[in-house]
């Protein structure tokens, strides 16, 4: 089984340096692109590979790149979204800390494909070791002329800068991120216009997730057909899957795209801890719908998880066991979303606060008949189309699915006027 994204990450916890990266074949893809491919050919190759965005939405990467205007009339930008802040998600950290040059080479190739001359790594401020690894990687890349003027002996020039964020979940949202990079509050922007038309400082801009960009050098080096062959599904490549919660071995694994939930949970995470039973999981971070036992054989890819009523999201699962209160878990999630709402749209700042208070009351034994209906109403109120960005619809996902799968638990909280798990 091939694991291109993680195979060169040193086990001693130190980042792979430039020499180590080159020794493992690194920067060959960049040289190939600069020597023998036009920007359009690079975009085409990525399109053919069926690489889909690993930040959670799964948008086809090559298509996203092709939205950048063909004619270059002024500055344009690429941003690597390294603002990993989706609760339960810890995959990009691993790539950033372990193999910074893989991301940088991916960015260089993407920038060339979109004829961008300035790119940013937008990194969350809490990721101190990643910041160290990326700044060292950038310095090494400049020293070796992979960055700067006329890189690697070509006529193409590129600068990459590291921006350390000051922390807010909204910065992970594409247009919120652009505002944050401009030095503003990370409120979302209305779309359209989409960033390829009007992004950073009103110029054409593309934002890609870290894991997405890390795949790019491998696609170029080995070809789209090879990349598709790594996968067990239509979406190309491998995927970093993770599991947290009360499983035997919480962790992160690079596996073929389309590996089933059961295989990840049972073979890699080792099943549930002794004495605990599986009740459900969020397949890819806080903003995805719960799945339950009946979904264990669903392949983890963008299409199949959606068919099962959720989203693959970031691919890092959060597992709920039978000794943890589902209402408490949803309260924790809605508390997060209510706190991180930027306050820009009414359904989000008002609705999430309301939902959070109802859940908090339920947990404290002050649930009322009618609360479940109010929560169900909020999930409709927060649905896509009612807000500028995906924060509120994302927040509705675990709530609406918990109401569906764990309704008895909600009812029990209200009926018994207590959290049944508190005394356990």
């Amino acid at each position: 089984m091939e694991t291109p994204l993680t195979q060169n990450i040193p086990r001693d916890g130190q980042p792979l340096d430039r020499k180590g990266y080159e020794g493992a074949g690194g920067y060959q893809a960049l040289r190939k692109v600069l020597r023998s491919m036009t920007p359009a050919e690079v975009v085409e190759e990525v399109k053919t590979s069926n690489l889909r965005g690993r930040g959670g939405a799964g948008f086809p990467t090559g298509m996203k790149w092709s939205f950048m205007p063909k004619e270059v009339t002024g500055p344009r930008y690429l941003v690597a979204n390294a603002d990993e802040m989706e609760p339960g998600t810890f995959k990009d950290r691993f790539l950033l800390e372990g193999n910074p040059h893989q991301l940088l080479e991916g960015m260089m190739i993407a920038a060339y494909a979109m004829q961008v001359n300035v790119a940013y790594v937008f990194l969350r401020g809490e990721y101190k070791r990643a910041a160290q690894a990326i700044s060292q990687g950038i310095a090494e890349a400049y020293a070796a002329q992979y960055l700067g003027k006329e890189i690697a002996g070509s006529s193409y020039s590129l600068d990459i800068y590291l921006h350390l964020s000051a922390g807010r979940y909204m910065c992970g949202e594409e247009t919120g991120l652009l505002n944050a990079l401009e030095g503003k509050r990370a409120n979302p922007r209305a779309k359209p216009p989409f960033p390829p038309v009007s992004g950073l400082w009103g110029k054409p801009t593309t934002v890609n997730n870290v894991e997405t960009l890390c795949n790019v050098p491998h696609i170029i080096a080995n070809g789209a057909a090879w990349f598709k062959g790594l996968s067990r599904s239509k979406d190309g490549g491998t995927k970093l899957y993770g599991a947290s919660g009360k499983v035997q071995r919480p962790g992160l694994w690079e596996l073929p795209m389309g590996t089933t939930i059961r295989e990840i949970l049972e073979e890699h995470a080792g099943g549930m801890r002794e004495g605990l039973r599986f009740r459900g999981l969020l397949p890819g971070g806080a903003s995805t719908d719960f799945l339950t036992e009946e979904h264990l054989d669903v392949p983890m890819d963008f299409t199949e998880v959606q068919k099962a009523g959720s989203r693959m999201g970031t691919g890092t699962m959060i597992v709920l066991d039978d000794r943890t209160c589902p209402v408490g878990m949803v309260w924790n999630l809605e508390h997060f979303f209510a706190q991180e709402s930027c306050g820009w749209c009414t359904p989000c700042w008002s609705g999430l606060g309301w939902a959070e208070r109802i859940l908090s009351a339920m947990e404290a034994g002050r649930g009322e008949p009618g609360d479940i209906e109010k929560l169900a109403f909020q999930t409709k109120f927060l649905a896509p189309g009612n807000t500028f960005c995906a924060l509120a619809p994302g927040a509705a996902e675990p709530l609406q699915s918990a109401l569906k799968y764990f309704r008895d638990d909600f009812e029990q909280h209200i009926r018994e006027k207590r959290c049944p798990w508190r005394s356990m």
């Binding site: 609760p87 998600t89 809490e126």
Partner: protein, 154 residues
Amino acid sequence: MLSPEEQQEIEAELPRYPTKQAVSIDAMKIVQKHRGWVSDEALQDISEFLGLSCSDLDGVATFYNLLFRKPVGRHVVYICDSVSCWIMGGTGIAERLTQRCGARLGESTADGRFTLLPIVCLGACDHAPVMMVDDDLHLDLEPAKAENILDRYK
């Protein structure tokens, strides 16, 4: 007035962006690094240096989790309160540390040694529960272990 050091560090950020406004977050982080927090006076200094309005800067400062508009202790303890840590007992960590410090989340100890803050997911969920003290991430915590870790920060 910004110190020469602060000015120099802020100026070093300017060439990376086409506008001065883009540097505002970096500028506040730089000042916070030197002064511990972003006071009204610091906002005024940055606003004059970058030519931005003080209220715009304050709007930005109050938006971000890692910019402090109040003084903090010598060490800032960030306790993750997101979902994976919650499942794994993160609440118990927060309870133990608030008890030991005699300060609630969002407050500082009387001796100015620690400020306790809740923080969103630190991206180390396979080692939950976790916390960060200053720049150091601490994994696989239990209440007693978390308490012992604080002893290292004087």
